[in-house]
């Protein structure tokens, strides 16, 4: 560390060049952070999805409803901790562009199955007391400026109420969650939906079943599908994680595209940084000669050059990751299309590793050249 002043002065020899190199690395790692965030956003929370929660949908496709009569049969099955149902509502709030998920649930079983949705007891009481009550995610409330107590009208598309086209809801409470949890959803009560819809009584969208032992997921799934085989509504069961993954795969391999672009970007930046380092070292050949004369070993020279390279990478890359992280903290910039917008700590760690790797790779060639310089050649180039 006593060589830090030497490295520092070496960096600022050509101020403009160093600044631009820092900026290039900064942009490269800013992009890295953003691309990793986008990749995570398109996986829709696969990481958090439960392995001990199973999803049952209609065997033909998700859009076909299941009878609510399956619920008691599922709850009575051995190995089941709890079962509940969800129903997609798909209504429109003011404008079809204001898309967000509206789902009809059974309040208490649902929140027991999803402890990651955090609700205060007062809000929970309010929701149970009001048939038209809804539980809204904090990010969704922030997006539209809603507060507890607001009345929200939603135009039905799949189901119309018995009169008119508009369903009225009251915000009974807000739910929060850790990073990676989708806080843009709108949960309302199934009993309100079932009583007031013009048709389709007794039908639900899909079932969520929590099983006691996650390792039996495969067998439990097969058992459920067998229970309902040859009925009017056959089921297909997957783990929640598998279900979300399947969904993400339908979009396409966005993850792979993001990674490919990242590799391209980092490779290019590495070339740029390497080129700059090489130029910088070439200019200071005589200095290297002097250092060697003074007694610095070859390995010491190698270390000095590599350290300089890594220092540039760390400063530029560190800033880039920090700005990316800061930007992601602001939340989803697309207004609803990417509800899970976080930069996972794991990717930050990978980024840090890549920064050091970039610094080492960029400095490798110039460092070895400097290391192998003969003192007489170096001094002659003055």
């Amino acid at each position: 560390m006593k060589f830090l002043p030497l490295l520092w002065s070496g960096l600022w020899r050509k101020k403009v060049r160093t600044i631009f190199t820092l900026l290039s690395v900064f942009v490269a790692f800013l992009l890295f952070g953003l691309l990793m965030t986008i990749r995570g956003a398109f996986s829709f929370g696969v990481e958090i999805a439960g392995l001990d929660r199973l999803i049952l949908i209609h065997k033909v496709s998700l859009i076909m409803p299941l009878p609510v009569s399956y619920l008691p049969r599922l709850n009575a099955t051995e190995g089941v901790t709890m079962a509940t149902h969800n129903t997609w509502f798909g209504g429109v709030y003011q404008d079809p562009a204001n898309f967000f998920a509206q789902i009809a649930v059974e309040p208490e079983p649902f929140l027991k199955l999803y402890p990651e949705y955090k609700v205060s007891p007062e809000h929970m009481q309010a929701w149970l007391a009001d048939r038209q009550g809804v539980l809204v995610g904090v990010d969704l409330a922030r997006r539209f400026g809603w507060k507890v107590g607001d009345r929200i009208p939603i135009v039905g598309t799949i189901w119309q109420p018995k009169q008119g086209q508009v369903w009225e809801f009251n915000i009974a409470g807000l739910y929060d969650g850790d990073a990676g949890v989708d806080k843009t959803q709108f949960f309302f009560r199934y009993d309100y939906l079932d009583e007031n819809r013009g048709g389709g009584q007794g039908l639900v969208g899909w079932y969520i079943v929590k099983i006691a032992d996650a390792s039996t997921a495969q067998q439990m799934g097969a058992r459920f599908d067998e229970m309902f085989a040859n009925s009017s509504a056959e089921t297909k069961t997957t783990t929640e994680k598998g279900f979300v993954e399947g969904f993400a795969k339908q979009i396409g391999d966005i993850g792979a595209i993001m990674v490919a672009i990242t590799i391209a970007v980092l490779f290019t930046m590495m070339l740029v940084a390497a080129n700059t380092m090489a130029q910088s070292v070439r200019e200071r050949t005589s200095e290297v000669g002097v250092l060697k004369t003074l007694g610095f070993s070859n390995v010491a020279i190698l270390a000095l050059v590599l350290s300089e390279s890594v220092l540039i990478a760390v400063i530029g890359g560190g800033l880039g990751l920090a700005v990316a992280w800061g930007f992601v903290q602001q939340g989803d910039p697309t207004g609803g299309m990417l509800p899970i917008f976080v930069l996972p700590a794991r990717d930050v760690a990978v980024g840090a590793g890549l920064i050091v790797a970039l610094g080492l790779l960029a400095g490798a060639l110039p460092a070895t050249t400097a290391m192998n310089l003969k003192i007489t050649d170096a001094l002659r180039r003055a």
């Binding site: 631009f20 033909v60 339908q250």
Partner: protein, 396 residues
């Protein structure tokens, strides 16, 4: 005047001729710019291909009738009675008594996607015998049309390529129903190519829909009779519908997804562009530094500073142009026509499309490259012009 131009040309020519001496750093700049152009063009070609598929789908002389308030075919519902009323509306092309209108049922069926082997939402459309007549652009490319009243189906070219088991002669089971593929159709690359078509009546039975449909696709007798058609229907108390031109409907369905792709594409390319500009600046800086003695000598000889500035800019632009061209060619060869499919959230079903690297896109890429080269060369060019001659002559 001519002296000035002559000087500029001479120095520029010198610069360009000596590029091979700086192959290393020039190569880096070219690779950097080519990389940015490839990313920009490829991501935007996804949006272009998707939009093209959606645009080829709707005809402005056809109208689509859905239940009022439904935002997509999936959430619409029309009874058999309403469909009969709709077919009596004025403005429809008729041959004899029969209106050129097809009442249709639109459902989703789970079929594995070949590329990932996970289930995908494939659209299945139940149609009436008038469907092929209404859809003038549809034609069979393999096999034959299905027989109404049976469980035979025809599949679109896109669907056949993207999802498992959709080949002529193959049968597959969905729930308790078995469907048999007897033909493959194409519709000029439109969204319908991702669909499976069957008899609406058979589909109603399989999905327990009674005598209900979801939409009516009507061929208008002329593009202008749309207003007559729509007004008659919306004023009619027997039906509760909304009427749109098919082209407008599909444009609206594609807006969200193509907007997202394009937004993400431009954002990434913009950031990469900034990075590439810095890279270009560094390269040109290096170029100027290595040749500072040369440049100082030229200026000492009497060449004016403008010629030096122009020559550095010209070199930067030349490198950028080469990078842009290479990037464009690689994008075109690698990505144009690449078939894929994704899920359109608005319709909750898959859309098969091909990446499209269009001439405007290539032009955009090259222009972007040139802009990067211009900005990248400016700083170093000015620096070269302001080099103090004695110091520069002494420099390494």
């Amino acid at each position: 005047m001519f002296n000035w131009i002559g000087q500029t040309l001479a120095v520029t020519a010198l610069n360009l001729r000596t590029i091979p001496q700086r192959l290393g750093s020039s190569g880096v700049a070219i690779v950097g710019i080519a990389g940015v152009v490839i990313v920009l063009v490829s991501v935007l070609s996804i949006a272009a291909g998707f939009t093209a598929a959606m645009q080829n789908s709707g005809s402005p002389s056809r109208a689509i009738v859905m239940r009022s308030g439904a935002d997509s075919e999936l959430t619409s519902g029309l009874s058999g009675v309403e469909v009969d009323v709709i077919k009596q509306a004025p403005g429809l092309r008729r041959d004899g008594q029969n209106a050129a209108a097809s009442a249709e049922l639109y459902v989703i069926i789970d079929i594995p996607k070949i590329s990932t082997n996970t289930p995908a939402n494939v659209p299945m459309r139940g149609v009436q015998p008038t469907a092929m007549a209404v859809r003038g652009e549809a034609s069979l490319i393999e096999g034959r049309m299905f027989e109404f009243g049976t469980n035979e189906i025809v599949v679109g070219r896109g669907a056949s390529g993207q999802f498992a088991g959709l080949t002529v002669g193959n049968e597959f089971k969905s729930g308790q129903d078995t469907w048999k593929v007897v033909g493959i159709f194409e519709t000029d690359g439109g969204v319908s190519e991702t669909e499976i078509w069957c008899d609406a009546r058979v589909l109603q039975g399989a999905y327990r829909r009674g005598n209900s449909y979801q939409t009516v696709l009507a061929q208008l007798d002329s593009s202008d009779s749309f207003t007559t058609f729509r007004d008659w229907l919306t004023a009619n108390p027997q039906v509760n519908v909304q009427v749109r031109r098919e082209a407008d409907y599909y444009a609206q369905q594609s807006r969200a997804l193509s907007g997202l792709i394009r937004g993400v594409g431009f954002a990434i390319a913009a950031l990469m562009g900034i990075g590439a500009v810095f890279g270009a600046i560094l390269t040109m800086y290096t170029a100027v530094s290595t040749r500072s003695r040369e440049i100082a000598t030229l200026r000492a000889l009497g060449f004016n500073t403008t010629s030096v500035v122009v020559s550095v800019l010209a070199e930067s632009l030349a490198l950028a142009a080469i990078g842009g061209a290479i990037g464009g060619v690689i994008s075109y060869l690698a990505f144009n026509g690449y078939q894929t499919s994704t899920m359109n959230f608005s319709t909750f079903s898959q859309v098969a499309f091909a990446f499209q690297v269009t001439p405007p896109l290539l032009a955009m890429g090259v222009i972007y490259a040139l802009v990067m080269g211009l900005i990248g060369g400016l700083f170093p060019a000015l620096r070269a012009a302001r080099l103090p001659i004695p110091a520069a002559l002494r420099e390494l």
